[in-house]
């Protein structure tokens, strides 16, 4: 187990190194300077700015500096908003995104599993068709479209929810739903098919023959086995929630990290782009690792590759 985790950590470090290197060289190739919007720049000032940000050094020095900065989690100052460091931005806005993300994940897993279980129990009957079409809808409709539609109909037309902002729980419901919806559909589909598979197995027939109630069988027996594919989906789910937040935070004007990331893209604010990219990468890489470890804990039949007994 420890050997496995160490090996995975090594991969994570390698992957991070690749990301950092690639982003560094790509940003150097990028057209357009972050200072481009300030017009009528005297050359002296531009020179000074370049000096402050170390843009005059040869590339290998810049690269070395950048690697050291990244390793020490010092992502530097924003090039657009003077005197705002990327670290501040992240620490300010990440909690917001985290709250939203966790809410979305809970929604996706909770309702996804529930819908999946219901449709498996009522296989090929009305609730199944309803749940399956719901799942298909969730998979097919991109989250940003859903976010726009919900904002318009539920918040603007019906006034059930606040239109935008971030001032309490009620503000988080629509955005979290928008992020969660497509994943809910996917999890429902996963749960349904693996529940159906389990329902044909001998131990379920045995339990049924003993006269155990439908729902007891589900909770005591089937669900535990049926949930394994759902656990594997938690890794992609984390990634999906992060990317979903880019757009949904923008639409609902939520001051989260996703919004900053998107804005830094539009502003070509290289330090912030690089900082957030590396930060996101770290989170995602560790999320996947945790899911893999969790998976082996939940299902003892699975032996992690590279782990000795």
């Amino acid at each position: 187990m420890i050997k496995y985790i160490l090996k995975r950590l090594m991969y994570i470090l390698l992957a991070l190194f690749v990301i950092v290197t690639v982003t560094f060289f790509l940003m150097r190739l990028a057209p357009g300077s972050p200072f481009a919007s300030e017009r009528n720049f005297p050359p002296q000032i531009e020179e000074k700015l370049n000096e402050t940000y170390g843009l005059n050094n040869p590339w290998y020095i810049q690269y070395k500096d950048y690697l050291i900065d990244t390793a020490t989690f010092n992502f530097g100052e924003s090039m657009k908003y003077k005197a705002r460091s990327t670290n501040d931005m992240i620490s300010e806005s990440f909690p917001v995104s985290l709250t939203l993300g966790i809410e979305a994940m809970l929604l996706a897993v909770g309702f996804g599993v529930l819908i999946g279980v219901v449709s498996a129990l009522y296989h090929n009957r009305f609730p199944d068709y309803l749940a399956t079409s719901f799942a298909v809808l969730g998979i097919s409709v991109p989250s940003f479209i859903l976010a726009g539609l919900m904002q318009y109909f539920l918040a603007f037309k019906l006034g059930w929810f606040p239109i935008s902002g971030w001032k309490g729980f009620i503000y988080s419901i629509l955005p979290a739903l928008a992020i969660a919806f497509s994943h809910m559909g996917f999890i429902a589909k996963l749960t349904r098919s693996s529940m159906l598979e389990q329902n044909n197995s001998d131990y379920v027939k045995m339990a049924r023959a003993k006269g155990i109630g439908k729902w007891t069988i589900v909770f005591r027996h089937t669900l535990r086995n049926a949930l394994l594919p759902v656990v594997t989906y938690l890794g992609p789910l984390t990634a999906g929630v992060v990317t979903g937040s880019f757009i949904v935070e923008q639409i609902f004007a939520i001051p989260g990290l996703g919004k900053h990331f998107v804005q830094s893209i539009t502003n070509r604010d290289y330090t912030v782009i690089m900082g957030t990219t590396v930060f996101y990468s770290i989170i995602l890489l560790f999320a996947v690792l945790i899911v893999d470890i969790l998976y082996s804990v939940i299902d003892p039949r699975i032996k992690l590759k590279g782990a000795k007994k």
């Binding site: 097919s140 479209i145 726009g148 893209i265 539009t266 990468s281």
Partner: protein
């Protein structure tokens, strides 16, 4: 035991598809024919195929024969759907109906191009890695491992920030990590086929590696490859619309579903049709490709074969 009487009127003659029954009566049905039969019984997949055919036909012909061009500014701004403008017009007075089908061309092109690039790199990488085995296999798969660990969308975003937005950069960005999945699947197939006797026999007869890949490995892996390809297309279309939404998509005058939806989102309060039409067509197309892909996977799954 009493015999229960079953009334005659509970039965009705439904007739039969004689052609199909004839074919089933054959001694052996070829694998692909069987797959086709099973696929054609999948209602969802058939609906998907029909939607795709309609979308492809409309995308081909509407921009060719329409009286307006996608970039024509017709002087009627934000007009609701009417007999003249079937899907209404946008804020620059462009006909949305034509733009939808122009956008379908872009989306389909991006999806299919990304899938083909994935296919080429993935098949080459996977089959070489699987066939070579040993250290080469190890190194190639470790490279793939590290690349999969890199969060896909972040790389795409960073790439597009750097490159000038456009069709080609979009396709490159989409396929830069997309091939890995394909490579894994092909490698798995190769490993399971590689040690079978007929491959050994071909080797003994002096068949080259290239011949082995094309003649023996690819046909056997075709099913898995096909499914992966059909499922790559909707995710590419989805990513395209997502990136267009972030302003990293195909640049302005070109109609793309993502750009149209993102513009429409801003105008939702006074011109909801500008969001609804692109939204419906993005969703329908993604749904159709997914349905076809799932149908293919079920049809190809030997476990479900009867």
């Amino acid at each position: 035991m009493t015999q229960q009487q079953i009334e005659k009127d509970k039965f009705k003659i439904v007739g039969g598809n004689h052609e199909a029954t004839e074919k089933l009566a054959d001694k052996s049905v070829s694998f692909w024919k069987e797959v086709f039969l099973r696929f054609s019984h999948n209602k969802l997949a058939i609906i998907g195929i029909i939607i795709l055919i309609i979308v492809i036909l409309m995308a081909t012909f509407v921009p060719m024969f329409s009286q307006y061009k996608a970039s024509d500014q017709l002087g009627v701004y934000n007009a609701p759907p009417s007999a003249q403008f079937w899907f209404g017009t946008d804020d620059l007075g462009r006909d949305i109906f034509v733009r939808i089908w122009e956008g379908a061309r872009i989306s389909l092109f991006i999806g299919i191009a990304a899938a083909i690039i994935d296919l080429i790199i993935g098949v080459l990488w996977g089959s070489i890695s699987g066939l070579a085995g040993g250290r080469v296999d190890n190194i190639m798969m470790r490279i793939a491992d590290v690349l999969t660990a890199v969060p896909y969308l972040l790389v795409v975003i960073v790439l597009l920030v750097v490159m000038q937005p456009g069709l080609i950069p979009m396709i490159i960005a989409l396929s830069i990590t997309g091939w890995i999945n394909m490579a894994r699947i092909v490698r798995g197939e190769v490993l399971s086929i590689k040690n079978q006797e007929y491959v050994l026999a071909a080797r003994t007869l002096g068949a080259s590696t290239g011949h082995l890949i094309i003649k023996h490995l690819v046909p056997n892996a075709l099913g898995a490859i096909l499914v992966t390809m059909t499922l790559t297309i909707p995710s590419a279309i989805f990513t395209e619309s997502f990136l267009s939404y972030l302003g990293l998509g195909v640049p302005a005058p070109t109609a793309s579903w993502g750009t149209m939806a993102s513009d429409g989102n801003k105008a939702i309060a006074n011109a909801p049709w500008r969001l609804i039409f692109p939204a419906v067509f993005i969703s329908l197309t993604i749904f159709a490709f997914n349905a076809v892909g799932d149908g293919l996977r079920d049809a190809l799954d030997p476990k479900l074969r009867k």
